[in-house]
Assembly symmetry: C2
Homo-oligomer: 94 residues x 2
């Protein structure tokens, strides 16, 4: 009855990042930081985990002279997110 929850997505910050990326084609580090309110260190670590899992793609570029980390959700990430949401519903829908 209760479905297992993907531990990679069952994290407030990582879920927040995925949720944002689902709606925006791409987002940079600074934007994700603002939207989530996370510390830079925490965000850096969690972005890394999502990337290593293949849920997001990360591109390091420059905007002018400043470094800029761009994130995009992958197809695999979208699928994982949808599966996570479906599993969650076994907990929260009657």
């Amino acid at each position: 009855m209760l479905k297992a929850l993907d531990p990679l997505l069952h994290s407030e910050l990582r879920l927040g990042v995925m949720s944002i990326l689902l709606g925006v084609d791409e987002a940079d580090f600074v934007f994700l930081r603002q939207e989530t309110g996370a510390t830079a260190g925490n965000l850096s670590v969690q972005i890394d985990k999502l990337q290593k899992a293949g849920y997001i793609a990360v591109e390091k570029t420059f905007r002018g002279k400043m470094p800029c980390t761009l994130c995009r959700i992958t197809d695999e990430g979208i699928k994982a997110f949808e599966k996570y949401v479906e599993a969650l519903r076994s907990y929260i829908d009657k």
Copy 2:
């Protein structure tokens, strides 16, 4: 936009316990163990946390000669669960 998630409920096992208790008036330790698939130690610890938070009430009785730990969700627990679900929707609903 993204609402904070009550960390006490944002745990697979504790959320599972709450989800079960929402539907059943009361449930004992053994039943919760079967439904969640958790180890006894983990379940014991998480029940304790939910009780200390006031989200569930725990009554220690005997069924025949065997000890029996009964759990019920409290009004506070129901409210917290509903609030958690609403916060979650800020992540998973478009």
